[in-house]
Every structure is written in C-alpha cells, then in structure tokens.
Symmetry: C2
Subunit: 363 residues, 2 copies
C-alpha cells in the first residue's frame, strides 16, 4: 500500500515511529523474550514501562505532586458518570457548559446523579461557537464546572481556559479527549481533566484522568469500586489489571512527543496545520466551514461542499489519492478532517492540494 | 533472547503465531495502509474484524442466538458490580459460592448492592477444594447463583457445571476469567458468563460477557450507563469506542483456536499438560500441591517446596533456564505455574524436567 493519510476522528492515526517500534518489539521487548501483552502487570518489566509512561506524561505537561494521574478503562463516556459520582462530595448540583454533542452526552449522564445547571449553551446557534464567559450563569452552590475543551463532532474548541478560581472556588473539570497534549496545559487551573486515549494519546481502551488529590475520597453511595478515583489513586492504577498494552503504546507516544520538542512545539505545528486548512476554507467558496472563526478547532475541521451532490465523488477521489476517513460524523454529514498531533504536515498539505484541485475540477 | 516459557498468571503468554501476525500487520492491515489501532471503530475495516471476532467465538463455543456476546472494558473486577446491578431485577438477594480470593472479592463488591447468601464455602479448608453441590444451601428467593469456575490464585477449578435449572429457576453466573475456552462450554447451562481477556483470550483491557438476553433491561437505579449490559447489547458493543486493538488480538486467538481443532482438542491438550505437572507433584515429595486432587486446576498449578529456604534458588535457576514468572501470588507464596491454552506442551515438559533436576540436586 502506498502512503495513506488517515483523517479518522478516532481511533486515529498514530506516529509511524511509534508503530514501527511496537512492531519491532512485538515478540521480544528489550530482550525479555516477552511481548508487552504477555507481561504480568506487577512484574518488573511492565512496572518500568508504567513508571516511565507516567513520568513522561508528568514531564510533558508539568504536573505538580498534588495531582494524581490515573490510567483507567471505559473511555471518556465512563467519565460522564464518574465525574459526578466522585466530585459531588455531598452537593447536589453541577454546572455544565453545552457546546455540542459530547457536552450534551456528559450532561445527560450527570443529570442521573444531580441537578444540572446549564450555565451556558451554544445550542441556539447549532453549536457553532463557544459561549464567552461573560454570558455564563454559574450556580455558586454547584460542586464543579464541566466543559468540553474540544467538540470532536462539531469542530468547536476552547482556545482559552475559563477564568475560574478552581482552588478556592468551584473546581473546573474538562473533557479533553480530542485536544489533550495538542498544546501546553496549565493543569493547576483544573480540578480534574480526562481524556479517552484514542484521539491524541494512543489506542482505544485507555482513559487518562488527572485529578487534584484533595477532591478524592467522597464517592456517592453505590459507586462501583472501579468507578471510585480514590481506589485507583491509592493503587497506582493497579487495583486491578490495567490495559497494559494500551499504556505501553501511549508511553511510546509520550516519548515521541518529548522527542518532537514537547507541547509548545506541538502547538506551533498544530496551528500551522490548522491554518493550512482554514485558509483554504476561508478563500474558496466551493467549501464551507460552519464554525465561528474564533472557535474553530485545531484538531477536527468540519466542512461541507456547497454542492452536496458532489459529496460521494469527493470522498471517492480523496480515497483514490490516499486521503481516507474524511466522511463527516453520521449526525452532521459533510466532511471532517481530524488532524491530531500524529498527522504529519505532509498529510494536510496533500489534502489542501487535493481540495483545491477538486474545487477547480467541479467549480 | 533464547526461547523462554512464560508461566505468568495474567497478563499471560499468547500464541506465538498470533504475535507474529500482529507484528506483520502492525503498520498495514490487509493493505489498508492503517494499523488496526488507527481504524475508526465504525469503519468497514474494523467492523469486519469485530464481526469475525464475534462469529468465531460463537462458533467455537456454540452460542445460541438468544445469548448476547459483549466486548466490554473494565476487567472481571468491573463485573463484580455489573452482575448485581443488572441481574438483581427487583430481587434483593443473591447466592454466592466462595472458593477463594476471587470469589471473595466478587462477594464483597456484590454485598454493596444486595444481601449475599454464601451458599457454600471452602474457606475452612483454606480454599483447597470445591464444595460439592450436595453441601450447598441455596436461597430460593435469590436473584442468581454466582461461582468462580477457576480460582487463579488458589489453583482450584470446578470440573463440573452445577446442576441448576438456569432457565426456569435461578440463573447461574460464572466468572470464567482463567479457564474460559480451555474446554468445551455448554453456555445454555448459564444465565451469564464473564471473563477478563488477559489469561486465556488476549490482552488486558477487554472483558467478555455472554448473557441470556431475557435477563437484560432491569438495571438498578443509578447504574452508570456503561454498566448497563442492555446498552451494550443494543449497540453491538459500540455504544462507545470499544478496546479495538484488544478485540483484534483476541480475534486472532479465536482463529488460532479454531485452527488448532477447537475446544475439545484444547481440553485434551490441557489435560495432558496438567497431568505432566501433577504427576510430578504426586510422585516427588520434594514438592507439595495443597489442592484436593479432584479439584486441581488445569490452568494454574500452585506448589510449594518442602524446604522454603530453597524458593529463591529455585526461581533463580528456573529463570536461568528460560522458565519465567513462576513465583506464587504474593498472598500465598511458593510457586505457581500458569499453563493456559497458549502455553505449548514443550514449556511444561521443560518445566517438569527442570523441577526433577532441581529436586535431585537439592534432595
């Protein structure tokens, strides 16, 4: 197969160097004679992998000691329950910002455990923007404030961290599944951050949680043991067998990120990649991007063709050019190019060239 | 590294052919240009993998249509909560059989959701046998009967399926994490069977559940959405992103099992392997196996040295001979040889030869 570029929204492209290393180590990790999949999670070999994975992540982000890093299972959707089950801490209300389909799902699940105050919503504009903070109506009695930093489906991203006193006031919680590690992150602004791995971190089946430790230890009655962050924190994510191979691959991605120059460098590259696409969308009225310019995602770029009758042809020709997985989410249609950290700039350049050519052909 | 034999209790050895195929397909699955890890779970490539994985499993076991096969996350420990949360169905009691550490954990977690009747326990004999069914005191009002078909730590296995009318009476539920697919399985005798993948199926991070569909749809109030079997059943295990790569590897293991002759053949081989070890333990009083002969596990063979001062030397020499991960569970000490489906008979033969030689040297 010739080089392809995979624009899937997740599970998504991984760095080629990571896959090559995983291939080379598949049957024999570092002379151990074992695949990483075959290692006891409590053996010295895997323990060394787990420790390096966590320490590289802490180093990349700059995470202080009073934050726990948890390697869990279940996907970001499991966090939609775990967040209220753990963070209500005797309170009965929570603030949510609704910016799209993932926020909506988080709200729906949390509403089974508490009263939700939707402090702001962009639903009226079909989720094409982020509500500015001056329009938020926060309930001061609420246990926490939850938002989705990047809406994978809508392509709407917060390019700012809400100005909330997370330490003395209400803890800020963010679902960062689709933009974590795409830029520097000041974790001290948050009480808790979570992310499913399968977009910017590694394979599906691993969920990363970073949580300030003083928030732990007051789960709702009836919380399943494995939904209690404290249990995982006390056991270094080894209360039960963690998803070891997914942790290993994610660790390779962290090492790759360090090697690439860390998060500040990734942000520069991600801005460059996103601008290539958005410049085209701004300057070619064959295509349309519905998202407000200030809130356009650097990770997921949704766009439509002015003439939707050409959608099938666009996807077919893209495919023939090795540009795959560009079909928009089934709920919104059109196209979506997901350009996470692991998407090389060459992939975006090639996509832009193809889009220009396709527009010229069919204008 | 020379050939090693890995006796880890889990995550555990995988068939070499499976790892070789995974290595060869790592960067390009079937000419798609993608790693399986990079595929959208809703794309045609991964859908074909998921469908084959399920159909091969159904074929191997012989699963009728009224049973759902679910590919979940969370490990068997998550099932300790999910079973009562889903199967109580308005009742308030459940029967459990206690045969060791894993049964005990299941009981402890379930007791948070209902009243537990421990219908039988082998605790008084230090969990070295299975209580025969004539000694069970079942509560007829209970919602289900739970047992652990193989205790990974104690090395105690049920070589019989309890004679329970699962259809018209109380559904039988089994944790088969460490012996699933080691022998033929009449699933119609059960209401629900579950297994963490990392012993006999594939990598950690995947949990398999087989459940009779008429038992679904009555979760406890407050059950997290992802802990509701019905949600997963209605969405073919794709309500959210499943652990795709772990499913792929497990699918390769299923194909390997079919190629090896299926479960009847695996049972023959497993009996042969287990007998090699137990014959030695019976005939050499340098070693001791604490488990009652009728209930000895074919999967996990625990044993001690008469002289525990030799433990370190035994493990060191074993290691030097490429026989690794033989140390017993930290809670019981001694040794444990886990000899799952993927352990070749040559590994057991080599272990037995080493044990005889070590005994001769130190007798």
């Amino acid at each position: 197969m010739d080089q392809i570029y995979n624009f899937s929204a997740g599970p998504a492209v991984l760095p080629k160097e990571v896959l090559q290393q995983a291939r080379d180590e598949m049957l024999d990790w570092h002379g151990s004679g074992m695949s990483v999949m075959e290692m006891s999670h409590r053996g010295k070999e895997f323990m060394s992998i787990a420790e390096k994975t966590e320490s590289d992540f802490r180093e990349l982000v700059g995470i202080p000691e009073n934050y726990k890093v948890l390697f869990l299972q279940g996907g970001a959707s499991s966090q939609f329950s775990m967040v209220p089950m753990n963070l209500l801490r005797g309170k009965t209300k929570a603030n949510y910002i609704n910016t799209g389909q993932w926020s909506t799902k988080a709200i729906k699940e949390a509403s089974r455990y508490c009263t939700i105050n939707v402090a702001a919503s962009s639903e009226k504009t079909n989720f094409t923007c982020v509500p500015t903070q001056d329009k938020w109506h926060l309930d001061p009695e609420a246990a926490y404030i939850h938002y989705t930093s990047n809406e994978t489906i809508g392509g709407v991203e917060f390019h700012w961290i809400p100005d909330i006193d997370s330490r003395n006031g209400i803890p800020l919680v963010a679902d960062m599944s689709s933009d974590i590690l795409s830029r520097p992150l000041d974790i001290t602004r948050f009480g808790l951050v979570y992310a499913g791995a399968q977009k910017n971190l590694g394979p599906a089946g691993l969920t990363l949680v970073v949580v300030r430790e003083d928030l732990l230890g007051q789960p709702l009655t009836g919380t399943p043991t494995l939904y209690d962050y404290q249990i995982h924190a006390q056991n270094d994510s080894m209360y039960n067998t963690p998803p070891t191979y997914a942790m290993y691959i994610t660790g390779l991605v962290f090492a790759w990120l360090k090697n690439k120059g860390g998060l500040a460098m990734m942000e520069k590259i991600n801005i460059t990649k996103a601008n290539l696409l958005y410049d085209l969308l701004n300057n070619n009225d064959f295509y349309h991007c519905p998202v407000a310019k200030a809130d356009r995602s650097r990770m997921n770029v949704p766009f439509t063709l002015k003439n939707p009758a050409l959608n099938e042809e666009f996807l077919k020709q893209a495919d023939n050019n090795g540009l795959i997985q560009l079909k928009g989410h089934r709920s919104v249609g059109g196209m979506r190019a997901s350009i996470y950290n692991a998407m090389p700039i060459e992939g975006v350049t090639k996509l832009v060239a193809f889009m220009n050519e396709f527009a010229n052909q069919h204008a």
